[in-house]
Structure formats: C-alpha cells, structure tokens
C-alpha cells in the first residue's frame, strides 16, 4: 500500500519558492455579468506568492485548459488556483490540466465565485466583487501550503465472504461464483436454505418454496468456486476492504481462518412467536408459519379459518410494518379455498399491503374465491375466545362473531438474533428495530457506510422472496466491483497519525470513526491508533476529536485551514 507521506507537518516552503498562478473565469456572463472579474484578477496579482494571473472567458473550455497548462510551463508555477464554479463539475478537469503540465494534481485549489458568489449576489455587484476577492485571497493562502499527494492503492483479495445461507445468501453466492469469483458461504444451521425450508408455496408465482431453495442449494453445493461452511459462525473479524480476515467457529468446536476482499451480510429474519397474543396456543390459535406447515401436510384442513394480521406489529412497542404478512396471509387463504371451496376464511386486517401489480391481482383472486376481508382499527383489535373471534367493523358499524376452528396469527418479522453481535464485529450499525442500517436509505440501499461490506434480504428489512433475490443479486453486483478491479484506489484526503508518541491509545478516534477506518493496535510503546487509509473517507472526525492533536488530515491540514481563516480575517 502506498500512503501519503506520514512525516511531521510540512513546513511551508519558503515564500520565494511558492509560485502561484490564479485563473479567474468569466463563465461567459455567469460570473462576469455580476461581478468585476478583471478587478478580481488584478487583485489576485497583488497577493503573496502569486506570480501569474489570467482571466478566461471559460476556464473549463479547451482554450482555458490550454492556458492553465501554458501558464504552468512558461512561469514555472508550482500552485494553481482557479476561481470559477463548483469543484463537483470541473475539479477533475483542472487537476488533470495540472498533471498534464507536470504539476501534482493536489497542488490545485478551487475557489467558487459562481454558485457561492455571482449567482447569489446578482444585485450587489460591488459587494459580490469584494466577496470574490476575499474568496480568492483565502484560496491563495491555502494554496501556498498545499502539498503533493499520491493516490492510495491497496490490493483486493479476490474472494467474498457471504454470511447467511438463506435464499439471499445463496443467490448472492451464485451470482459471484458464476462470474468465476471465489465465495465462502457461512451458515449457522446444519443445512442451507434458511426460512424457505419451512415454507410451503410462495407468492406471487405460486412456486414451491422447498423446490426453489433446493435447486439453489444443489447449484451452490456443486459449484467449485463456493466453499460452504454449515454449522458455522463468524467469531472474529479483522482487516478492511480488500483484506478481511475472518475467524470461523465450526460446530465441532474447531475454527479456521479465511481471507476475503468483501463481505455480504444476509442473515435474514424470522417471525415472532406470538406468545401472549390473541390466545396463541400453537394448536387452535397458531402462527402463520405453523399454518404453512399444516397446509403443506395438507390433511384435514380446518373448515373455518380466521386470520388476524399485524399480530405484534404496527403497535406502540413495534411500530414497523413487516411488509410481507398480508400477502402471506392472502396466499394461504387462497390455498385453503382452493382445496376446500366450502371453507369459511376470514382475513382481519388493518391495511392490506398488496402493493404493486401482482399482489393486487392476488387480492382480487382471493375475493373471487370468497375469502372475506374485515377491516379493524388499532384501537379495537379482535378478541379471540373459545373457537370464536369477535371483531368490530368500522365500515359496517357493528360487531361480527366468527366461528373459528383455526385462528392464524400473522406475526411481526424480527431480525435474526445474530444481527446485533455480528454488527459489532463488522463495525456496522443496526437501526432501532435491530435491522442492519445501510449507507443511504435511498441511494445506497445495499452498501454499508464502511467500504467493502454489503447487505441484502430480510436482515436489512422485511422483504418477499423475490425482493430478497433482487437485493442479493444487487449486493453481489456491488461486491464484485472491488473484486473485479483487483485493487481499491482512494483519494489521498485521509487522516494520518502524525506522531506515535503523541497518541495515548485512548481509542476515541477509533470508536467515533463511522467507516471502521481506525484500528487500535498493541505496540511496544503501548496501544496506538492505526489509520487504514483505504477505508478512510477523510471526514476529519478523528482529527478534530484528538485532544493530543496527534492526527492530521492530508490536504486539509490545520495549517492550511488556519491560513485560509487568517487570510479572511486580515481583510483586503
């Protein structure tokens, strides 16, 4: 791994050695229309270290970029400041221009005088111009202290660890293996298959759950690239993206160690056993899972079935909706009616969650077959007693008493109990309900904030079989990116321990790091922090927390930021 130089804070080069070029962009009229860019350029000329200035019509255009390169070469510039727009669009352009002219890309500083100046001060030309000068002065002050940086690279071990051998884990493992990538698949139970082993038929395609999962298991077990570890749990984990080392504890009390470049978490969920709810006894009042078993065995199905939804969910204690129970109930209601059209089946619900296309059609089928639906409210839940269910219907405005040979409770889905301890080992978060917490709820649903670890299936949130499979394929796709690249590259804007002697090993930085990028290690000098540069995102939490000031941020050093602030306070 190549790291940025971890030496002591670099002394600013002697002032006479610093040769800064400042390029001020007119952006057509976007900047020049609202502030005096020529005055800004002229002002830049007067700043310490600045040896060259130029105003461009569009600095980002081919001619603008050529002018930067020419400026660097003809004037021996060793720092470049562009005062233009946002770094999001053109920073790569200007960094590349510097590199092409032989200057390290990190000796470039971007000052935004468009979004942060001309566009927001359209009516205040003089003040806007003054602010642009302030911003340029600050940029120049920081530029003088910039240091060359090299991109950080680390190799990626070409294999994945998949935790959980249910439908999600199996699907993810197969997708990677089909692409020739090595997979270690770890399952706590003696058999692969997870929840699907105990299900009957699955919606919406009316597939046989066991047949589906069996075909997957067969494929997994036959695949030369997949190593299956059943009756096995991960007991310890070290390392970081590209270089994880996991200790696996096997059922026979032996253990082994494997290496992996990435990890996929697929530990699933299970249904709450509805103890204490609606007179649950496991015989006449059963869980939906028990009813699945009964349906699969298929003998002597009860004549009168009442299903109660939201058993133990969508209440004060457990606010969330388990997403799949409505459809599971409706599917099973249909199976009862198909086998015995004269059976009486009632589904008592609060809101029927038949989202999408197929679920809505399944609901219609159920209604056609004569399944009765009764809506109840959270305030007036049904009451179960002695083979009868009483339920108040708001719509009708009266109470129904339904005879019930079997009461089926659709209970909440809970994350697997291994999720909490596993989250600690992986240093990834879980939410208040115990489900794994992804990096971004909308845009990164399958990633953790920590690079190299991914999540799929019901351990992330209750999901149907189809949804779990889609997520599993997605997680495999995400995980394959570093595996296929063979290395990870990171912008060198990372933290570094400047001085081992300053570090007292308090561990505050490691516990606050949101990316698992700091390890505490034992050395001869005591416990010390070790920065894992490839995992670091450069957020700076560690550096700003360290009371010993033993940590510094590359490219955003205290000296650079202080110089910027001082330059501002000094005024023009």
């Amino acid at each position: 791994m190549t790291r940025p130089k971890d030496n002591a804070p670099e002394k600013p080069e002697r002032e006479k050695d610093v040769r800064i070029g400042v390029f001020v962009c007119r952006c057509g009229t976007n900047i020049a229309g609202f502030l005096d860019t020529e005055a800004v350029r002229e002002y830049a000329e007067s700043l310490p270290g600045v040896v060259f200035t130029k105003e461009n019509l569009f600095t980002c255009s081919e001619s603008g970029v050529a002018e930067i390169k020419r400026g660097i070469q003809e004037n021996n510039l060793n720092r470049v400041v562009v005062a233009a727009c946002t770094p999001r669009t053109h920073e790569p352009t200007f960094r590349a221009a510097c590199e092409e002219a032989g200057l390290n890309a990190f000796l470039f500083e971007f000052v935004n005088i468009r979004e942060q100046c001309s566009w927001v001060h359209k009516a205040e030309r003089d003040l806007g111009t003054r602010k642009a000068k302030d911003l340029v002065r600050m940029g120049v002050a920081r530029a003088a202290l910039l240091e060359p940086q090299e991109e950080i690279r680390a190799p990626v071990h070409p294999g994945a660890l998949v935790i959980g051998g249910g439908i999600a884990g199996l699907t993810a493992a197969l997708s990677l293996a089909r692409r020739g990538l090595e997979v270690h698949l770890v399952e706590r139970e003696p058999e692969l298959g997870g929840t699907l082993r105990s299900l009957n038929r699955i919606y919406p395609g009316d597939l046989d759950a066991r047949a589906l999962v069996s075909s997957r298991i067969k494929e997994v077990e036959a695949h030369s690239k997949i190593h299956v570890y059943t009756s096995t749990q991960m007991s310890a984990l070290g390392g970081y993206i590209g270089n994880y080392r996991a200790t696996l504890a096997h059922g026979d009390e032996t253990s082994s160690e494997i290496k992996a470049g990435v990890i996929i978490v697929a530990t699933g969920a299970h249904a709450l056993v509805p103890e204490g709810l609606y007179g649950y006894d496991g015989e006449r009042v059963v869980s939906q899972l028990q009813f699945e078993e009964e349906l699969r065995n298929g003998r002597d199905l009860p004549e009168r079935v009442v299903m109660i939804l939201c058993a133990g969910s969508r209440n004060r204690e457990r606010i969330y909706c388990s997403r799949i129970c409505c459809m599971t109930a409706i599917k099973n209601a249909i199976l009862v009616k198909e086998k015995n059209p004269s059976a009486s089946v009632h589904v008592l619900y609060r809101d029927l969650q038949c989202y999408g296309v197929e679920n809505e059609e399944i609901l219609r089928t159920a209604k056609k077959l004569g399944v009765r639906f009764v809506c109840f409210s959270e305030a007036k839940p049904p009451e179960v007693e002695d083979g009868r269910v009483r339920v108040w219907s708001d719509v009708v405005g009266s109470e129904f008493t339904l005879g019930a040979d079997r009461v089926v409770l659709a209970s909440a889905l809970l994350p697997d109990e291994s999720a909490g301890p596993l989250a600690k080992m992986l240093k990834v978060p879980v939410d208040a309900d115990g489900f794994f917490l992804e990096a971004h709820v909308k845009l990164r649903p399958l990633d953790f904030a920590t690079d190299g670890i991914f999540v799929c299936g019901a351990c992330h949130w209750p999901a149907s079989v189809g949804e779990s499979m889609a997520q599993a394929l997605g997680a495999a796709g995400r995980a394959s990116v570093p595996l296929r690249a063979g290395e990870v590259t990171v912008e060198p804007i990372v933290s570094a321990l400047v001085d081992d002697a300053l570090c007292r090993g308090c561990g505050l930085c490691a516990s606050l790091c949101p990316y698992g990028a700091i390890e505490m290690v034992e050395t001869e000098e005591g416990t010390k922090a070790r920065m894992i540069s490839v995992a670091c995102k450069g957020c700076g939490v560690c550096a700003s927390t360290c009371y010993r000031r033993a940590i510094r941020m590359h490219h955003y050093t205290d000296e650079q930021l202080q110089a910027q602030v001082s330059a501002y306070l000094k005024g023009s």
Binding site: L57, S175, G356, F435, K442, Q471, L473, G474, G477
Partner: protein, 371 residues
C-alpha cells in the same frame, strides 16, 4: 447523475431513442437515433446567454407547464449533459425562417442550425430496460374535475410548486389566484386500484402524499393537510414511523375513505365529497387546493420499446420478469429494473438496478469465458 455523466466507462446518449435492435444475447446491435439539438454538445457549457435572448416562450414540460421556458433551453438545471437544446417545433428560425439570436449571442459558437438527426449503431452484449414511469392524466376521472377546476392539481405539479427552484420559488400558491394554499387535500388511488383504469397499486403515492403534506407544513406553520386513502400502504423501511410522525408532529389528518366527487364554490375553493368509512358518514370538505395522487403508469413509449426489444409485457404494459431472477426479461440478455417492471420506490429501484448490473456482468463474463 453527475457521477454517471463523469464515469469514463459510461457513454451517455441523452436526447436519443432506440429504434432497432438485432442480434442476440452477447451480441446485440442497437440502432439509436440521436436527435438534433442544433447545439454542439462539445462546445456548449450551458452558460445561459442564449436563453436570456431567445424571444420564444413555450410551456416548460419539466415544470409541468406551470411556467414558460424558451425555445432554446436546458431541460432542467441539474440535467446531464449540461447543454442547451433548440426545440425546433417552436424555434422562431425553424418556424418563420429568421431570428438566429442565440447564434449571435453564443460566445462559444456552439449553435449549429445545420445539425440533423444522426443514427449510431451500438454493439452491446446485454441490454437493461430502465424506462421508469409516466402518470395517468386524471381527466379520465371527470368526477375529480382535473383540468376543469383550477385548484385541483396532480402530485407532480405539486412537486414543482413546493420546490425552491420551481415556478413559485417553493411557495404553495394555488393556480386560481396565486394565494397561499393552507388547507390542502390529498386524494389517493386516482385511477390506481381501479378496474376501469389501472388495476394495480401504484405503490408510492401514500408515502409521497405524506411527504408532500409535511413539506407544506414546514413551509407554512398554518398549513393543514388531509389525506384520503383506502388501505394506507406504507410498508418500506421506517415508513410507519413516518406515517405516525405525519399525524403527531405535522397534524396531518388521515381519512379512510374514497373521495366521490370534487366541486368548487364561487371562490374557486374545491369541495370534496367523501365517505368517511370509519365514521360511516358522507360529508363535504372545503379546501384551498386538492392534490391528486394520479396512478403511475409505464412510460408512454414502453410498448413501442417492448416491441423493438421483443420482450413480453403484462396487461398493464410493465415488462414481464421471467424465471427465477427478478430482473430477467423473457429475452435472454435483456434485463429490466425499476418502475419498468412494476411500481416501486427509489431504494427498491436502486437495488434492482444493481441486480440488473450483476446479471449483465454474469452474461458478459460468461460470453467472454466461452470465447
């Protein structure tokens, strides 16, 4: 979007349409029509000087026609690639033979009136369909008065009104008199779960209506919102917390019942006639503004594209998933994700997109191995 636009492996062909596909998995040839923008993409940097000078005003589609754009325009501020397009149907030069003001204004010489549609052939081993959604025009449900009652708008129009970059700068000014709308009703299942229109549940409306109502309250503490729903379908991660927060912190009133009809009084205030199924009463509610959660439909050209690709669709026009992979279509080598497969929200669409990418990789790498 920006990341995709900047990625060295992504060649983005915006303002382009697929016209013909031949070949098979591992070796498709795709003929793409690149529509003329009359602007050189390599030169234009979207500075906007041309827009300021263009004399022709046209209703802005991105802003749901709630304000005007010019005949030369940027589809929307953050659009990628950030280049201008001349709308030839409305451009004064193309319709009347003179003007060319944009050409004179452009300091980068990016305007090119000689540009013509071009066709490019792209070789591809696999194809992903991600054509998203459109919205049912609620005029097909005359009882809701959309198009006839001024203060009845759609969810997408609301999005533009409440958006800081939208036509009202983020203020909820209602169309009839530009007065701040304080009492707002949100009507669910407008054409969704409806055998006459869209049989399916559009899946995203319940949540976006809560979000819309919250936004209204955040902009204006006097805002009061009513959401009329049947089954309230908030099944995603933390959605129930969100629903409860809407009621408790934002005082949104959730009313279980379909709206039968919307009328208006002489001040253009909409009056909703609805049945409250929990209280078993039919009653009117007068509000300032009504927002219709119109059914989300497959993209308008989805059937045409399905024909070109040869993939099967369901009766609603969504691409059919086939086999054991939820993102495989009926044609090997062609995958789909997001709303093209059926209604779903952002995280599900993003997850499916990664799934489709994984299936593409499996396909390409398998072909590669075989060769």
């Amino acid at each position: 979007m920006l990341d995709a636009g900047r990625h060295p492996n992504i060649n983005m062909l915006a303002y382009s349409e697929v016209e013909e596909v031949s070949g098979a998995e591992g070796d498709f040839t795709v003929r793409i029509r690149r529509k003329a923008r009359y602007v050189d993409e390599s030169l234009c940097n979207a500075c906007g000087d041309c827009v300021a000078k263009c004399p022709t005003k046209v209703p802005d589609e991105f802003d749901m026609r709630l304000r005007d754009r010019r005949a030369i325009y940027l589809y929307f501020a953050q659009g990628i690639p950030a280049v201008m397009t001349i709308d030839a149907e409305n451009c004064r030069y193309f319709t009347k033979g003179k003007c060319r003001v944009c050409e004179k204004t452009c300091q980068k010489k990016a305007i090119d009136f000689e540009q013509e549609d071009r066709w490019v052939d792209v070789q591809a081993g696999a194809i992903v369909v991600a054509t998203g959604l459109d919205m049912l025009d609620p005029q097909v449900l005359p009882q809701y008065g959309y198009g006839r009652l001024k203060n009845v708008i759609t969810g997408l129009e609301y999005e533009r009104l409440i958006n800081a970059t939208g036509p009202t700068g983020g203020h909820l000014f209602r169309p009839s008199d530009q007065k701040l709308a304080e009492k707002v009703a949100y009507v669910q299942c407008v054409g969704s779960r409806d055998l006459n229109h869209c049989r399916y549940c559009s899946s995203v409306c319940c949540m976006y209506s809560i979000k819309d109502a919250m936004l209204a309250r955040e902009h204006d503490p006097n805002s009061k919102s009513y959401i009329f729903h049947t089954d309230f379908r908030n099944v995603g991660k933390w959605f129930q917390n969100y629903e409860r927060r809407g009621a408790e912190e934002y005082e949104i009133e959730y009313i279980r019942g379909r709206v039968g009809e919307i009328e208006e009084d002489d001040q253009d205030n909409p009056i909703l006639w609805y049945e409250d199924t929990e209280k078993r009463v039919v009653r009117p509610l007068q509000v300032d503004l009504v927002v219709l959660a119109a059914a989300a439909t497959p993209a308008k050209d989805a059937p045409k594209l399905a024909g070109i690709l040869g993939v099967e669709e369901d009766e609603n026009g969504f691409v059919k998933a086939d086999g054991e992979s939820p993102v495989d279509t009926t044609v090997p080598g062609i995958f789909a994700c997001g709303f093209a497969l059926g209604p779903k929200d952002i995280p599900e669409s993003v997850a499916e997109a990664s799934a489709a990418a994984a299936r593409v990789a499996e396909t390409l790498e398998r072909k590669h191995d075989a060769a």
